[in-house]
């Protein structure tokens, strides 16, 4: 069976989610791999959301917000950019390819571009292969088992 990446998309309410809507109403086809989550602003995307998505089985995470200067809340997307760049540096330390995380600016009018970004990112993640964080964690602990239980019992347990 071919690998279908699971991608979590955090889309800002004012631009990118509306852009995704436009792609839908305009009948533009795009990869069905993305699971969209609407957030009020890309600045609402706590790095914890991203790590949680990865730890729960996402193969890639897309954050999409308004173009610089266009944020409905003035500066939320700049905050998203700073968090994104910091996360990019943390992911390799956790053994996760930074290319599994992407930030894009997608306006409400850019339905075509939304489809293009989702398709491109899906292919990028497909090339990286499955991530399987949970499975890797379980695998890392498979030999962490109790051995020699009651090891003290074989002696007399006497003091001194």
């Amino acid at each position: 069976m071919s690998f279908e990446p699971r991608i979590v998309g955090f889309l800002c309410n004012w631009c990118s989610y509306t852009g995704a809507d436009l792609a839908g109403t305009a009948r533009i086809k795009y990869a069905p791999n993305i699971r969209s989550i609407r957030v009020m602003c890309s600045g609402r995307v706590d790095p914890v959301f991203v790590i949680k998505a990865f730890s729960e089985g996402a193969d890639g995470v897309l954050i999409a917000g308004c173009h610089p200067g266009d944020c409905h809340y003035q500066e939320g997307n700049y905050k998203a950019l700073r968090r994104y760049l910091l996360l990019k540096r943390i992911l390799p330390e956790y053994g996760i390819e930074p290319e599994r995380l992407k930030l894009e600016w997608i306006a409400a009018s850019e339905g075509e571009r939304f489809a293009h970004v989702v398709n491109g990112f899906t292919e990028q993640v497909r090339r990286l292969g499955p991530m399987n964080c949970k499975g890797a964690l379980i695998e890392s602990m498979k030999d962490d088992v109790l051995i020699h239980e009651e090891h003290a019992a074989q002696g007399t347990g006497e003091r001194r």
């Binding site: 790095p47 790590i51 330390e93 007399t156």
Partner: protein, 317 residues
């Protein structure tokens, strides 16, 4: 009637035990209300003595240290069975602590570095610790060194947490008071600590200032009255529970988060990343990266004491 308690350490440094002793004359008050049945650092009880106790005989176990090997896990499970309340004492048992940093590596990488490549070790035959070792008279055993460091609550059910590296002595005293007076809060609570961020307790002046440069502690003398983060020193205050009495801050040293996350926070280190990103001034990729280039080892800075309890728990292998 006195409380029956056990005090034990897994992968620990003994600092939590010393923090109990550091209650000074209050130790006499503690001794008045508890009978101790295991405390390796200070008293001569054996594992066999604990095995001989009836299940649930102990009112509480104070368990410090992370679960690093099979002996730690075995004794944690033994004490869990013997105790009505299991209390994680200190950062290692609570969030993994400094020993949890080993989750950046595998078991093999650590054994290799320690026994085969350590500059001060002469081991030409490349001997590694053996779990079973035959001598003339019989077999000797060592516990299994685990690949992944675990927090106490990742191996047994934990009732309460007393955070800190080490926990402040007076906080241990007050937590034991709750136990003695049967006033413990609901199961799963953090006791002997505050419920707000360290920043709320910190006396340094805070404004809404953003920063354009991150300093390492040797690069600049900090201003004595201003928030460390606003001066460009990475300080984990915003992501850390209060209750330590700002020990490090008062010693002119930024916080590294030993008191763990606030209630409801799943990952202290990653939460801190969010806070750190918020205080940076630049709005363009180039400017942001110029600052981030100066941060050495961001993960082990923000997750110094919490890597083993972080959402991803370890470096993926």
């Amino acid at each position: 009637m006195k409380l029956n308690i056990a005090i034990y350490w897994g992968a620990a440094c003994g600092g939590c035990d010393v923090a109990i002793l550091d209650t000074h004359e209050k130790l006499l008050e503690i001794a008045d209300v508890v009978d101790i049945h295991l405390w390796p650092i200070a008293m001569d009880f054996k594992y066999a003595d604990v095995r001989a106790l009836a299940d649930g005989y102990l009112d509480a176990t104070l368990f410090s240290g992370a679960v690093r090997n099979s002996e730690n896990e075995e004794i944690a499970k033994l004490l869990r069975k013997k105790s009505k309340a299991m209390i994680a004492l200190g950062a290692c048992a609570h969030t993994g602590g400094v020993p949890g940093l080993a989750n950046m590596y595998t078991r093999g990488e650590i054994l290799d570095r320690v026994y085969l490549r350590s500059e001060s070790t002469n081991n030409p035959e490349g001997t590694l610790p053996a779990e079973e070792f035959m001598v003339d008279a019989g077999e000797l055993q060592l516990p299994r060194f685990y690949n992944t460091v675990k927090t106490l609550d990742q191996v047994v059910d934990v009732d309460y947490y007393i955070p800190g590296c080490p926990p402040a002595s007076l906080q241990i005293y007050s937590a034991l008071g709750l136990l003695a007076d049967d006033m413990l809060p609901k199961k799963g609570s953090v006791i002997g600590a505050g419920d707000r961020a360290l920043c709320d307790e910190c006396a340094r002046k805070k404004s809404e200032k953003t920063i354009t440069k991150i300093y390492r502690t040797h690069e600049k003398l900090p201003d004595p009255e201003t928030c460390f983060l606003e001066q460009g020193f990475i300080c984990l205050g915003p992501a850390t529970r209060s209750g330590c009495g700002s020990r490090c801050i008062k010693s002119w040293t930024p916080c590294r988060g030993c008191y763990g996350p606030l209630d409801g926070v799943q990952d202290q280190g990653i939460k801190m990343l969010g806070a750190l990103a918020s205080v940076l001034e630049p709005k363009d990729e180039k400017g942001i990266n110029a600052i981030l280039d100066t941060v050495v080892d961001p993960l082990r800075t923000v997750s110094r004491f919490s890597l083993a309890s972080s959402m991803l728990r370890r470096k993926k292998v």
